[in-house]
């Protein structure tokens, strides 16, 4: 095992995939000569050359759709968007092309493509650069949506995503890039669609994904100080959604809280909370607790921005309010 950052894990995943399969290539804005806006692709142009590490014009619809076309033709493009917020410019290509072409062709075609993008807020980029549209894409049949929270998962899920025969939206919370964790020295995969129990506990199940897991792990530490044993379930992918692992945990602990760092209304956390209620109401000591980001655009000013992002005390308070523990 070696301790590396989330960013290094992604880069290693890209290198391994490029080495393993000549059909894999990367494209995106400034991923080559500039080394990538978040430096995930640093040094890759030099090693793999301009055919396999392609800088694109600032034309999200064009190069995301070109990724779909290349994938339909049997290549395995890994397309990088500089921000998940920019995916809206290409959303027609994602929703109407990548996600539909297999179905509308009656299964004749497939789209083995990965769309990587930094996502989330918290770094004062203001309202248009701090959004998490992976939540939206999670409602689209035909897409897979992957949301790793650790370097281990990032590397293993990226390898699985690139080898998957379907379009995968791979959401990289930008707050995670510098976080560290152990990864095996040998190659490995993490399967898409399998949630992971990041901490075991007996009193309450805390469900989240991506950067939300950082908050939930800290909340679980805090709860332990008062004698509450929290289990943390990391969804790892929003679509497919592994409700079996969530359900098993909830029915063991009898309490559940869902953390969604993004907008509350019609957010993905609402879907998870509703499913828990639907499946496990007989096992629950009370309603499913919810913590989410505020239903506001993200302001630039740091104190204001932080007011809108779920913090550990929000989780603690919500649990106390809902379950009295």
């Amino acid at each position: 095992m070696t301790e590396i950052t989330f960013r290094q894990a992604l880069q290693r995943g890209l290198r391994e995939a490029l080495d393993a399969d000549p059909n894999v290539f990367l494209m995106g804005e400034d991923i080559g000569k500039y080394d990538g806006a978040y430096a995930v692709t640093q040094g890759l142009l030099e090693k793999y050359g301009p055919d396999r590490v392609r800088d694109t014009p600032i034309s999200e619809a064009a190069f995301v759709g070109a990724g779909v076309g290349a994938a339909v033709a049997g290549l395995r493009p890994v397309v990088e968007l500089m921000s998940m917020s920019f995916s809206l410019v290409a959303s027609d290509q994602i929703v109407n092309m990548a996600a539909k072409i297999r179905y509308m062709s009656g299964g004749q075609l497939k789209v083995p493509m990965v769309l990587r993008a930094p996502t989330g807020g918290g770094v004062q980029l203001a309202a248009t650069h701090s959004q998490s549209f992976e939540n939206w894409y999670a409602s689209v049949p035909g897409l897979k949506v992957v949301t790793p929270s650790t370097p281990y998962d990032a590397l293993g899920l990226l390898r699985s995503s690139i080898e998957d025969d379907n379009p995968v939206v791979f959401a990289e919370n930008a707050l995670l890039y510098a976080t560290k964790g152990d990864v095996p020295d040998e190659e490995y995969r993490v399967p898409i669609g399998v949630a992971d129990v990041k901490r075991t506990g007996t009193d309450i199940t805390l469900v989240g994904w991506a950067h939300g897991i950082v908050t939930l792990m800290a909340a679980a530490e805090k709860l332990a100080e008062t004698g509450v044993s929290a289990e943390v379930v990391d969804l790892r992918s929003l679509r497919p959604l592994d409700m079996e692992t969530v359900t098993e945990s909830v029915e063991k602990t009898g309490r559940a809280l869902v953390l969604d760092e993004n907008w509350r209304t019609a957010g993905f956390g609402a879907e998870v909370a509703a499913e828990i209620g639907y499946r496990s109401s007989d096992y629950l000591d009370g309603p499913v607790a919810r913590v989410s980001g505020t239903d506001t655009p993200s302001p630039y000013s740091r104190p204001l921005e932080q007011l809108g992002i779920p913090q550990v005390p929000w989780v603690i308070d919500e649990i106390e309010k809902t379950y009295g523990i």
Partner: protein, 307 residues
């Protein structure tokens, strides 16, 4: 051309009978383009087109039976009835749709062309589009991308003058010719051609493909044409004068081309009649095939979402 015309006449009839539903956009009047252009393609070339796609599909040799069954929404359709008229696909023939979001097909075509370049193949992707789509951002984005990457892509504009009910001059500031604009993106291989003349389309396409296959990057052809009927079956055509249609109908390639063949002594009337009879039987058989094919079983709702 005659097959496309008769196939579509049958589509229209089946629509009025309620056998074909949804949106149905007929290509009648524009057949010379699909036939002239696609006749010049190689088997490993790709074709991407818009929702008025029956002509391109048949010109590429897609099975009329399975195409008609698709329009009927039946299991033996090209896409098992899941795509319909606007979304015809045949992967084996490199026919990558039928796309119904106007301009959505440009990026897809760029990627298909990129795959040929990546594999160092001499293959080309032809993307057909109408004048209406040229006001979408993807048109401009992909022309630039294709030029900067020298992609083997043929942009084929079927300028039928109307985007649904809007004549080009009501929605475009750039004048009646579109092809000169391609040069501003660095696409120098451009041509304008009479879209009612199948031989002219063929010749222009041949030259464009030669240029692309020799590594010069993308090419652009604008064909001037006209759809004789409405935008779709739902269109009462209130926005244009009947006299405008009549001018173009006089140049119907289904009238002029057979006449040319007879004048040049290449075919006799009897030979043409034999061809027509054969096609009429083929179209009747396609309708019969579609009628006899069952609707998809319920489980098909849930299949083909993921590979």
């Amino acid at each position: 051309m005659y097959l496309i015309r008769q196939f579509e006449e049958a589509c229209g009839e089946m629509y009025t009978r309620g056998q074909v539903r949804g949106f149905l956009h007929l290509y009648i009047g524009e057949e010379a383009i699909a036939v002239g252009a696609i006749s010049q393609l190689l088997p490993h070339d790709y074709i991407v087109t818009h929702y008025r796609d029956h002509g391109h599909a048949l010109a590429r040799g897609l099975d009329p039976n399975r195409a008609m069954a698709e329009l009927f929404g039946r299991i033996d359709g090209l896409s098992k009835g899941k795509g319909g008229s606007m979304h015809l696909f045949d992967a084996e023939k490199g026919f990558i749709g039928g796309h119904a979001i106007v301009g959505g097909q440009f990026p897809l075509a760029a990627g298909l062309a990129l795959s040929h370049q990546y594999r160092k193949s001499d293959g080309v992707c032809v993307v057909f589009f109408g004048d209406g789509s040229t006001n979408q951002g993807t048109y401009h984005e992909v022309m630039n991308l294709a030029a900067v990457w020298k992609l083997p892509i043929l942009f084929f504009l079927e300028n039928n003058l109307y985007g649904m009910g809007s004549r080009f001059d009501r929605v475009r500031g750039g004048g009646e010719d579109f092809y000169p604009g391609a040069a501003t993106y660095g696409i120098d291989q451009t041509a304008v051609v009479d879209g009612m003349d199948v031989m002219a389309v063929q010749e222009a396409t041949k030259l464009a493909l030669e240029s692309i296959r020799s590594g010069n990057g993308p090419a652009f052809i604008e064909a001037k044409t006209f759809r004789f009927q409405g935008h779709s079956m739902a269109d009462p055509v209130k926005y244009r004068d009947r006299s405008e249609t009549e001018v173009w109908e006089a140049r119907d390639p289904l009238k002029t081309f057979p006449r040319d063949l007879l004048d040049q002594g290449l075919f006799t009337e009897a030979e043409l009649e034999e061809i027509r009879c054969g096609v009429d039987a083929e179209v009747a058989a396609a309708v019969k095939f579609a009628e006899d094919s069952p609707f998809p079983p319920d489980e098909e709702l849930f299949t083909d979402i993921y590979a």
